[in-house]
Symmetry: D2
């Protein structure tokens, strides 16, 4: 059983409480910190938390607390983590880890130096669909991964601080791109070095200083490409989709808007449908179990079991740091309009990868380009001569 | 924490162990009974069960056991339940409760007379999608329910006894129809009396004595219709869909083959994809988390929390008995080719329902039949004169 | 080039004009009849028709007219057809052919006796999806057909006469069931005798005398089952889906609400989306080309080319008569609550079919019931002993 | 009626013949040219073409010919067009117009100088779905367009010349990107100037000199972004999808792999399913009517009616030239790794656009950032102070 101090009492802190108390069904929030007294109080009531406070350190040092869960605005992560280091309390931080790689690096070095458990709360690599898809990828069902894209777009976040560049540290790239980067990086291989990033970003709609729409490509050392598409200007709900291409296969995952649950209603009796839904009449696409489909349950299971068994969880501050480094390159690229290198002072994966050779030998003189069945049922092959490079086709009798 | 005696060691007993040990993460199978020594032994090893036996009563009377989980062929349910009554052990039985209503009724009366906890393991009313859909229905998002259909078809069950009429007590109607009946009955209202059943059943493909394909309509006292479509001859995987029509809305649920997870693979690296999948190359449609999507997790949560809190679970032997009674009528109807009444000696719901009046008054003289917007943007109404019954249409200026 | 007299000027007469003038792009409506002067006039203007009249016979006898297209309320079909017979004009009639089989039979006998071209305008067997699906079925991709279902439900028809039992001859069974019956009959085989029908029908919502919701099963001589689900009380648009099960495969067709075209709009700039759509904001599901997707184009192509080449079109009055006969049995069954025989005085297909034997021999002593791959990668077979009937399973090493 | 000289006899020339002879049903191929005698002969036989030749000019100058259809490898387009100019024959050219903008520009200037009809055969802006979607966009259902993406990926083209850099002039960017660019450009507005392009391209799998996978962003003067994703290494069939985001809505179109037609087959009776399908067993996703769904029918209708009515078709050489110019910038960007300007010596659209202001005034002091309904049914608004820029939130009573 784990006893948690929750730092923060907003939307995400509530999602966390719902899932961390629910699934293993033995863990409990025992202290909650919020900057606002009323929020702390309300949260404590709603989740039956014994202790609430408006002083962060008080929640962390509460002797009942085993582990601290940081669910604060991005600009407060570092302060919270440093306090956990000071008091040697295990810590888990919501995404993104920092507002930038410099913050993330300081946090990473601090927790490792303090020797405390550190978990990076990136829920989307814990969704049941992702977990199963990733197993298939590991088993080779897709062959070599060529491209992995993740898209997260919706009509904008729920709390004011997200829209404030100083507190948030960025716009939709930081808010949503952090998910996409970790998802695609995992498909491609967490050991594979991200090399450089090209990013377009703009403030197309909202009256804010940060970007509300962005697209980026992340090139990995082995030639694979990660892609993210993020926006706070999407209309229609929460669009959360991944696509992966490999030499032997394809994966398409739709996590939210099309999951096999469709409802039409004229609007009588309507109420809360699901996160970021825009309407409550007409055709609606609810999700059966949001906490589970968004990965929260499996994330906290991994965190708590890892903590209890003395091992690292699947996602640590190191992962958060790598993600921040990639996003830093994206932000820089959006300004310079250049492919910007990913700067990783700390890199624990492999390096020196070359692009793999995937030539298929057809016969002594030819490589096979393509083989197909024609309309007429014959087999047709397209070949490349090894020496001359000349391309030719042959139709084989069926 | 609950300590379980598992009676049975087959496919479903394994699914149960995976989910009941997993979700609340505190319950445990402590004894397993199987008719075959090797199976009991293997199961005990795989799930780290301390005690195994080939004597049913020995598992039930094991002093470590709090609750007995019956996962045996249908013809052994009654014997197992009677032993639980004898020894006053809480009992949960896999679906269908009995091979027929007579068996189910004896079991129901026995557990109630013995005063023991009794749970009916109908997992599909515990799927996250169903739970959420049913909330919407209760909240009135669909208005009055007119029709609820459930379809479960696949290429046939995994174990030999299902195919043997004596042990199973029936074919796909009993195996799959029990799910469909409880799902549709819940949408329509568990308090509403099922009145009569019309069923077609046939053995279209398999060399067996039982039916391998059936369709039925169940008429309820308030005029709503339940429908089931079940088959062991479906090609393409496990087709598990519900559709509901109400006066104000529609629900479509796809539980398995189309849930937002699509994979194409040439077949390299292929292995187990999901329950009852027929291929492991080409386009595949895995499910993220089968146990959760099929309702097992929430089912055992409800069972164990109910047991601990001294209340009835959502599904009890009484529900199993009602389901068996409806299926008995279906079997009889398939033979007599008549609408057969549902015989319910025990009925705890309401009765005396009339079909609801849903006339919409348009003005003093007319009822409204329909209102629509035409191609040309005008509003068109179709009316019925209250006295003459004459039908007319009017186009209103837009 | 064909010159058409259009009898009727309503919704369907407009759909017809749009498609018959459009696709072959040489045919033309040259005369239009309507009971209402303004309607005839308006139609003539909109479609640039030279001649309009409120006298049916005048349109038919117009010397410019090659072929008469009957798009009138059901109760006027017979009169129109008889006039075509009298004047020896080729005739095409919208669905259903008659209000009942007696009317249909008289029309069939009259056109055959008059020796005139007769086409039955059942558009849905001409949709591009159906045409391709049916080719696959003919080629054996699904094996032997076991079951074919067609569902057509929507919020109710556009014109007043549909809702009037006298003019329409029935409710949604006649209006929509005629489509479903011909679709499923074609999948199963137009040569296979429909034997008997079981139908449930009710007036669940609308203040009308006819049924607004019905479900039926049609049993064919070879054991195959046709099914229809029809309603005027569906919420959410036009639901038009077919499902077919065969021993070797499955077909699922969605003709309207889910065709790969999805649009979300807040509602600004909204206008006509598609036939029977209920909303113009939120998630909408338009169809690219309604006329084509609903089969009108290919239907008139077949009609006109058949006429020009002196052969029968795919759908003739004979088909319309068979459909009416099946629907008559459905209406009778809804009243008597019995499986009612299909009465076919005229039957031009085969008869004497027995249910096919589909036993699969495993070895000298056993039939194969099922073969599957287990979780563990082994192959498992379930067998039936030819003599004893005993069922057993074997796990083969993988 | 149009009489066509078909230059080319390959896959696309056959698709063209199927659609141009079929839809208007009056036009006809009267002469066919192929470099190979057997191909010309075979084509003439299959399509009942009177005249065939291996001399290009002979087909063009054939006195029966009204219009020349160029369906040759890319490197032969210019020669063919110049001959049409010389002989003043109307000409239609398959996509892409040229191998680069220089070729395209020469062709554009030549046809305009010769004063002949010129059509650019970009079929995908003529698909029924695109046509309807574009109408909605024009009507404002999506508000201001922010982003339009088109994706076309498949396992590679059918003929050898595509794989040969010299003949094709490029890889999948030229082959598939030309479609995507014209689709997205049309959504955004053909009058809006494309400004610059960032492109990633690589040869990830195939043993060829050209790229087999590429992704690009095209920035327009008004701030909108066009995106293409193209590949010859996709596994699973022909993936043809568009996505559009506007300030008021969203469009998702799936043209091929998920169109509401799903078939499972064990593989018996299998044959040609659809263009670029990779398998013929398991779950298959055929398209009802490929020619229509891919836009060929409506494309030739527009071409021929335009020709007959003396007006420009929707797509002319000018459009082909703009597309080539954008693709040139993409190729350059893939090499330089920079955003490359689109060089358009000829531009007939608007210019001088500024990014639109989309500030929403909430009250005298604030802009509205977002308005939403919370879990608890209250309305929450997020505001920006006009002067201070400070962001705040308010919860309004519900």
């Amino acid at each position: 059983m784990q006893r948690i101090a929750m730092l923060g009492s907003g939307f995400i802190a509530r999602f966390y409480a719902d899932s961390l108390q629910g699934y293993r069904n033995r863990d409990k929030v025992v202290s909650v910190y919020s900057r606002k007294k009323e929020s702390a109080n309300k949260y404590a009531e709603d989740y039956k938390v014994n202790h609430w406070t408006t002083k962060m350190e008080e929640a962390i040092t509460n002797p009942d607390v085993d582990v601290v869960c940081v669910a604060l605005p991005n600009n407060l992560h570092e302060e919270a983590v440093m306090l956990c280091c000071k008091h040697k309390k295990a810590v888990m931080v919501t995404k993104p880890l920092g507002r930038n790689a410099a913050e993330a690096k300081r946090m990473l070095e601090a927790v490792e130096s303090a020797g405390i458990f550190n978990g990076y709360l990136e829920d989307l690599v814990y969704t049941p669909k992702f977990i199963k898809a990733f197993e298939s990828v590991k088993n080779g069902a897709l062959g070599r991964i060529l491209w992995a894209k993740s898209r997260e777009t919706h009509p904008g976040p729920h709390s004011d601080w997200f829209w404030d560049l100083e507190q948030a540290g960025g716009g939709c790239i930081l808010d949503l791109g952090c998910h996409c980067v970790e998802l695609t990086r995992t498909y491609i291989g967490k050991d594979i070095l991200p090399v450089e990033v090209m990013c377009w970003a703009d403030t197309q709609v909202k009256p804010i200083d940060a970007e509300d729409h962005a697209i980026a490509l992340v090139k990995y050392e082995n030639g694979a490409i990660g892609q993210f598409e993020v926006s706070w200007t999407f209309r229609g709900g929460l669009d959360l989709r991944d696509e992966v291409m490999g030499t032997e296969g394809t994966i398409w995952i739709n996590n939210f808007l099309r999951t096999g649950f469709e409802m039409f209603t004229t609007g009588k009796g309507a109420d809360y449908v699901s996160e970021k839904s825009e309407t409550n009449s007409g055709w609606l696409f609810p999700v059966g179990d949001e906490l589970n489909e968004l990965g929260y349950n499996h994330m906290f299971m991994d965190m708590f079991f890892s903590l209890e068994e003395g091992r690292e969880p699947k996602e640590t501050f190191y992962d958060g740091y790598v993600v921040n480094s990639i996003l830093d390159a994206a932000y820089l690229s959006a300004k310079t309009k250049l492919w910007e290198p990913v700067k990783l002072d700390i890199w624990r994966g492999k390096s020196g990868f070359k692009k793999e050779n995937s030539l298929i030998e057809y016969d002594a003189d030819h490589y096979l380009i393509k083989e197909e069945v024609t309309h007429y049922g014959s087999k047709k092959i397209i070949l490349k001569n090894k020496k001359s490079g000349k391309i030719s086709e042959r139709v084989l009798e069926s």
